[in-house]
Symmetry: C2
Subunit: 337 residues, 2 copies
């Protein structure tokens, strides 16, 4: 409370050095642990810091080291509502790892066509690396980052040579689920897919095809419907699918699956009695649905954690795997009984 009290002044390394009668260099070394320093001196500095509640200015540190201790996370702007939990969980995973390494997460929402926001962040040197939450067949964000030589990582699978990727093993998962359904004696299986420009759509399709190939069953191409990520288009095609009297409908994602279920209810077609339904993705929505829906289960938070850890390794200049695949689980539920 004294008039000359400096209790509100923010401590700097220089203040500490002065108070302790050592150089700033020494203080810096005590904190970072780098460089030789007497253990007695180190203790003294550390004790002082502890008592006075000093925390380094990360911005200044970053400037001196040409680092920012920030990561950019690019979230797609055109997500489906139902995909939000995936992104959210992934982000929670990223954040958990990032903050444990004293990194922060700068979030930006971008459409694939639009690199301007990403560009701003990169040009302003606000981040040390970038995480792309969605991958495109033609991906201008990847192209931009490769050109700028910024460390980055793609959540999902990317066709770009050299792009580091971490993904759930959609192909294997979709293959396994399809195989199970085939072995349950379903013969006419329709596949309803979303946006073909998303790499994940391609992977899921391949998994589906793999299952048929392995069991040496012919695929009826006329039962494969793509680009039905729009409710109106889907509605039309559903009439066609229903007319074909399929055993089972596999939906490539939960948004599509919800639409399909909605349509079937309106048409008073019973699941699973008249038709079976499964989804190549999983959200709690499907789990609590009545009947509960067979689907694939991926751990988005774990994915986020791995992604972040890998990116930090890259920033440190370590070599990392170009592609890592994570496991999955098949959840068989009432809809395919």
């Amino acid at each position: 409370m004294g008039e000359n009290s400096q209790e509100n002044k923010v401590l700097t390394i220089a203040d500490i050095a002065e108070d302790l009668g050592v150089s700033k260099t020494t203080v810096s070394r005590a904190i970072s642990g780098k460089g030789r320093i007497g253990s007695g001196t180190r203790e003294r500095v550390l004790k002082y810091i502890e008592e006075h509640n000093y925390t380094p200015n990360v911005i200044a540190k970053g400037l001196a080291q040409s680092k920012t201790y920030n990561l950019a996370v690019v979230m797609p702007g055109d997500y489906e509502l139902i995909d939000l939990p995936f992104f959210q969980n992934c982000i929670m995973g990223i954040q958990e790892i990032a903050s444990s390494f004293d990194y922060d997460m700068l979030l930006t929402v971008c459409n694939n066509a639009d690199v301007t926001k990403l560009e701003r962040i990169v040009r302003n040197r606000k981040v040390d690396g970038v995480i792309l939450l969605r991958s495109f067949v033609k991906d201008v964000q990847v192209e931009y980052l490769q050109e700028k030589k910024i460390p980055f990582i793609v959540v999902g699978t990317s066709g770009y040579k050299g792009a580091v990727q971490v993904d759930n093993d959609h192909r294997a998962a979709c293959k396994e689920l399809t195989s199970i359904l085939l072995m349950k004696r379903m013969k006419k299986i329709a596949l309803i897919g979303g946006n073909e420009e998303h790499v994940v759509t391609q992977s899921r399709l391949k998994g589906f095809q793999d299952a048929f190939a392995e069991l040496e069953r012919p695929i009826d191409e006329s039962l494969i419907y793509m680009n039905l990520d729009n409710a109106v288009l889907l509605e039309d095609k559903m009439d066609e699918i229903i007319r074909q009297e399929v055993d089972c409908i596999i939906c490539m994602d939960d948004a599509i699956c919800m639409e399909v279920l909605y349509k079937l209810r309106r048409e008073e077609i019973a699941v699973p009695d008249q038709i079976r339904v499964a989804s190549f993705y999983n959200s709690t929505v499907l789990e609590t649905h009545d009947p509960s829906i067979t689907s694939l289960d991926f751990d988005a938070k774990e994915l986020g954690m791995l992604v972040c850890r890998t990116l930090l390794d890259m920033i440190e200049g370590e070599k990392v795997e170009e592609k890592t695949l994570l496991g999955y689980e098949v959840r068989l539920r009432e809809s395919t009984k």
Copy 2:
């Protein structure tokens, strides 16, 4: 391609000054527009910058100005899935304004009880201000930020003196919706509320009470149920509510509303024929539900934009309104026919 080519070197203000034969001061002034400078000189500098694609290092600029050009957005960790779109839209609004002022958004997910993540960001001086996406009756985040004197703003209503708040006018909106239902001759209206610790829950309750008071109708306290943000508890109470043969159920948020609808369907109670249902919040889920559900509509993106603009004003040291309320719309749909 020449061996001495510096095409990959990142330009600094010093390079420009040297090339142009002026001082760094002059270059800085040309860029910032601050301080007197000859218009000819300014033009030359600006032209050079344009041609050579120079962008300032925001980190260095920040260090010199003691600014970061970052905002922290604190998202609650215990959100309901159904609330995600609100947060997401709000974040989109924040981002849109922030980036137009060359600010970036640092996202962190925190529970109310846990200030450590927020603390890390503040101690590391990573941001110039903070946006809290949820408000609590007892709010340790607000307490921390007030103590540290960091500019911050609360999305929602806060009881803390001096905390700047931007909110939808939940109270007026809930009052209006309740009034409409009362005037539609509903007599026994049950109210099902969520977590009482959330300030928004209190506001909604007040709006409900306001409507009764204005029409001089007595409130039946036994029809007000709070803290039913848990599906199991809700299930129990729903049996009780159904037994009381109410006309109408108002749900305080969409998560609760979905559970209520689910329960009514299982019990084969028809909406709106046997019972009417309305929600004090709105998501697309309710809109596409069959029957469509009467609810309140708020514009989360607009809210985010206003919040961000206000925070930036505060950071600039401008005086701002302590509390701003945004409009709403009542969406009357089939469920209250």
